[in-house]
Assembly symmetry: C2
Homo-oligomer: 414 residues x 2
Amino acid sequence: MSSSIIGPNGNDSANNASRLLSLLHHAGGEATRAELTARLGCGRSAAGYALTDLVNRELVRIDDRPTARRGDSGPGRPSHHVHIAPTSPVALAVHLRVDTLDVAVVELGGRALRVEREPVEARPDVTSIFLRITRLLRKLGREAGRPIAGVGVSMPSPVRSEDGYALEPRHLAWAGVPTRDLVREGLDEPWPVHIGNDANLAALAEHRHGAGRGAHQMLYLTTEHIGIGGALVTEGTVFGGARGYAMEVGHTTADPDGPRCSCGSRGCLELVADTRALMRAAYLPDDPVTGIEYRARVLMEAAERGDPTATAAVDHVATLLGSGIAGLINLLDPDRILLGGLLARLYQLAAPRIAAEMTERSFLERAVPVPVVPATLDCAALLGAAELVLAPLLQTLQIQPAQPPSASPGAPIG
Amino acid sequence: MSSSIIGPNGNDSANNASRLLSLLHHAGGEATRAELTARLGCGRSAAGYALTDLVNRELVRIDDRPTARRGDSGPGRPSHHVHIAPTSPVALAVHLRVDTLDVAVVELGGRALRVEREPVEARPDVTSIFLRITRLLRKLGREAGRPIAGVGVSMPSPVRSEDGYALEPRHLAWAGVPTRDLVREGLDEPWPVHIGNDANLAALAEHRHGAGRGAHQMLYLTTEHIGIGGALVTEGTVFGGARGYAMEVGHTTADPDGPRCSCGSRGCLELVADTRALMRAAYLPDDPVTGIEYRARVLMEAAERGDPTATAAVDHVATLLGSGIAGLINLLDPDRILLGGLLARLYQLAAPRIAAEMTERSFLERAVPVPVVPATLDCAALLGAAELVLAPLLQTLQIQPAQPPSASPGAPIG
DNA sequence: CAGTTTTGTGCAATCGCTGTACAAATACAT
DNA sequence: ATGTATTTGTACAGCGATTGCACAAAACTG
């Protein structure tokens, strides 16, 4: 256990200024001053102190004249609105998928200021793809006109948290890549670079800004083209295990005597319950991978219309998925389960089947049913990658003390 | 996320005094002052400040005259020895097993000052067993001659953290018991009562004081007579899930089409790999439960001597256990695995078989093998139950400010 | 317009922490 | 023995975020 960082006057990283900024960030980048004060749990004095600190650092702005909005009607002085300052640092976020590459500029609060999407050829080689990534990053960094807090990258692979090593990138023409070094080497500036697994990052974003808000133990399951990705967000932080490889739910054993998986085991869940398995269950080709999400959606629509083969396939996969979820409930005791990608659609079609399997195979589920909800964010992993950069920014706030304010310390804000 | 408790002067619960006491507790109740200062990560001044605070609260004592010990030889002034004061509060700990009942008085640092053991009749009824528990608690509380910080109880059941409700007590003549209320009602004093699952508590104690020390993600597996218990200690705290029911590894599915388990599912791990399964695999009776641990040990000794039936049984169970562990590695990415109870003995007999299965079925294990070690503590769950009481004591230290020291604030200690 | 309610600010006091300087207590070389 | 190096404990002034309180500001209510 590394000793926590202690600030110059004994207040550790949980000081009010950074907590205030975190609250604002979690609130989406805008909130009333009174809301923040209340959630901070201390007096208005201290909140004011912390807030002026943030204003002096040019991280947040306060509306001079409080703008009344929505159900603010009530007696009492209306509260100022606080929002992220246009001078605050931003994160550059990258999301590498099988067929697309997204790069974005994301502000504190989780708002994407700009998103660039490029198509990706099938099974690209390492050099070319990282050249494209870093070229886009340099461009967006130049044109952002804001301080760059760092770069966050979402990879379709288990990622070692220590150094960003991508253990087994899915469906790409390479394996075992030191991604963080590759990105760093392609940049002109010494921006800090963070790498994360796509499912973990999507889950993180959903918890911060999407359907997972407020959950204490959020289990996230998704499909990214093929395979099954999972993540657990525990009290607001991604559970990564010792090295960052945790929650490889796709390689949970669904059938110990099943067919060999590429991971070396047998009958892995993603071998019998991912998008390709769904296609196979409907006697349809599971190749090529390109476009398989679209073809799976077509299949599901057929099931919705009542096509017997499609319905049977959906039912089959739903049963196995429900069984897998039941096992995860027994292990993780979540209070919310989010389904992303095609799994959300699958649940929409076969919720009773999935729920029945969960109920039968998990005594915890029978004791207290766990709500299952579809994920809501559009480019969750991209926002999650940004979170990778912005979260440390909130933590380390007090290490770099604010420069003394230009006016006298007690000068009024307005 | 509940707002963290803030002390009277803005320093939150991670202040130096409580951190210092935590360090001392983790060090087993005794350490040199220099060690503590170093691990605290701040100057000697601040450490001294925190330490005098603890001395004023009569929680710790400092040896007036530093006693040179072990390899302390070196230049420089020798450091004082700091230890838990004999006036500090103690925890009362209870460990209810199938055939025994342990009650103990445990000091900060994790030292059991006194342990009372009583036999328990087969399948006792709720009233009588809790009468016995509370009678023992009252007695030890009276005779302790120390402030009582609270009561911690280890139950052979999943326990709801919120209120200590025992969901499904194993092998007892009752089900669904509000254990915390039952204990509280039987006490004369308003001691805080904490209830925990036996595997969780044993794991916690092993992490604090046993073979798990220093692990970041410690997976713990054990058998308590029958069934398989599991726990995960993440960065020093037990992972309990949303309600405290997490890590029910015994009901992980080992064979989806296997026999029905009492939990309603099929082919649960503890149905095919616990002590009873081992007996059955050797064509021996798995009843009665009383004494089954002894009979299983006899069987294992036969296997060690080379008896073919016993060897085959051990091999069979070891294979299934290894497979289960592999799945847990893929999900949890631990950096250490502790085996308690009979599992330690099983590993001793069949380590290669278990390791082989882990390697084959987990690609993470192949990437970086996870060390498997036997648990070391004797009455781990008992110490863990005490930990349940002592840990909050460390946290909430600064809420109850120290009474002003009798002498002047800057008075020398000795 | 007076009364109520909620919110922002000013001010003195507080208290744990910091850094520095100094004193204490040992080992080691001479 | 004696002095030096080395490490550890203590004293002291200063700092700064926080606290509570009092008061001002800005809305609604009747």
